[in-house]
Symmetry: C2
Subunit: 305 residues, 2 copies
């Protein structure tokens, strides 16, 4: 079932212990859409500048992503640059030029409005809310956020996620949002805010899913070589919601199949792990659904007892 993804499309400059790239396609929306495209039809809502390259649009279109909602504005595309620490657990932002993204005011094409699945990438919470309000007949809404909105736009953020089915968040942000150090308690506080499902990403340590009546935990995939972790969390998001959309899941129901939820977390983990194997989005240029299924089975092999 078709999925609308809202967020940034960007150019990134990245330096990791394995090398450096001065300009490559990036942005949350890009990673989420590329990743989800292996599971379901994806339609993006984003803004790019006049410098946005045709080959980058072609990469998305080549994966069947609908670009009708990708607005082209006068000016330059959002630019971000960062440097990773030796163990790649930390990164330092060197530069953020919002450019055309500064005035991003997402407008949904008519053809998007009846899509049943919506993923709201990390943007200003009020904008996330506006997008949702433009949709009719949503079956499932989920989204992401970050420390900046939690600290400085808390009230808006809380009002926004109250309308979501799931919140995807990393561990330190879950602690910040909930005020609880313990992740089990943090998840319960967030469930009280409205979402019926909370997914907490723990970087190399994996991910956890919480609902009122159940929880699921998966360890991270052990890569021998992490080339570039940029976009791994967004690729997780794409695999997670992409699989739920493929399966037609409705999280509001009390009868969600436990296995669908758990497998969505696994597919998210698979996509996040593949993303790290090359710089930027490069791994998605050759990745196949067969590769995804092979790693899904490997997850089963190394976690089953």
């Amino acid at each position: 079932m078709s999925l609308v993804v809202v967020g940034s499309i960007a150019y990134d400059a990245v330096e990791t212990p394995h090398g450096r790239v001065d300009r490559m396609l990036g942005g949350a929306c890009t990673y989420i859409a590329l990743s989800a495209s292996y599971f379901t039809k994806c339609r993006v809502v984003a803004v790019v500048g006049e410098d946005f390259a045709q080959e980058d649009a072609d990469l998305l279109a080549g994966r069947g992503v609908d670009l009708e909602g990708m607005e082209r504005a006068p000016g330059k595309t959002f630019f971000w640059s960062g440097v990773y620490s030796h163990d790649m657990n930390d990164r330092m932002t060197m530069r953020t030029d919002l450019n055309v993204f500064a005035d991003f005011n997402p407008k949904l094409p008519e053809s998007y409005r009846t899509a049943p699945y919506l993923f709201l990438g990390n943007i200003q919470p009020e904008l996330q809310r506006t997008v949702r309000a433009q949709m009719n007949g949503l079956r499932l809404t989920g989204g992401d956020t970050m420390n900046y909105w939690i600290q400085d736009f808390r009230e808006q953020l809380v009002a926004t996620i109250a309308e979501w089915d799931f919140l995807l968040i990393n561990d330190s942000e879950a602690r910040m949002l909930s005020g609880e150090q313990n992740l089990r308690r943090a998840a319960n506080v967030i469930l009280d805010m409205g979402p019926n499902t909370v997914v907490i990403k723990r970087g190399e340590y994996g991910a956890m899913l919480f609902r009122r009546d159940q929880y699921f935990i998966v360890p991270g995939y052990l890569l021998e070589e992490v080339f570039d972790p940029t976009g791994a969390g967004d690729s997780f998001a794409g695999g997670f919601i992409g699989y739920l959309a493929e399966r037609g899941c409705d999280l509001k129901s009390g009868h969600v199949d436990r296995r669908d939820l758990a497998r969505a977390v696994i597919y998210g983990s698979v996509m996040g792990s593949y993303c790290c194997e090359k710089f930027g989005v490069d791994r998605f240029r050759s990745l196949t659904r067969d590769d995804i299924e092979r790693r899904f089975r490997e997850f089963r092999t190394f976690t089953e007892f």
Copy 2:
């Protein structure tokens, strides 16, 4: 099958965000033996001082632990005190009085020498080697070590673990011993040193087991309240080798049942998680095998997909 455990028996003073205890039973050998005693007959090799309380000996004996190898020496029992950080991921050692442990020279009672299972707790590597040399007909030897021996006694340590079937080690120590940051590579380097199995503990994030042809990863159990993490790693060790001994596993064989290995890691994780629920060894005063099986099933519920 019967298991010999060598290591420290101590008195600890511990402060965590939940409280403080000035003197309680502790030491690696204590935790390992108490934990393993739920699975197999345990025989300890250790030294205590004249101040060692009868009630503490009774706790061990009450769990069926053979104390014939627990030597009583003139002087005081090993004493350690530590303070945990707010999130309990770090601890600072405030005091270490080796006392009678300074001259610990483990001698095995005749009745211990034919036991098929041996776990060498974290002591001087040369002493670990001496103990192993006193045994006849060992089926399985495993052990633990720490940063101090890796840094300052590397040659002795490498010669010692070359004779073991498994090394149990935490993630930062695995990196230190192998010189590899990536844990998959670190495990391969350690496998090259002799052990056919490496188990890497990751604290709250769980544990991993590596052999040449397979690996297994389990996330940590999510406690709502960690009272005191002291002894959690040693309780893991006890559950791990205790279960292997109960099952009669021989890790040298190329035909080890994959499930036995994975389940040993789960039982280790179960015992480590229970240990954190109360101060020191207190949880073991009431813990039953039924509790252990219940949490084992819970691990299955939250990891299966």
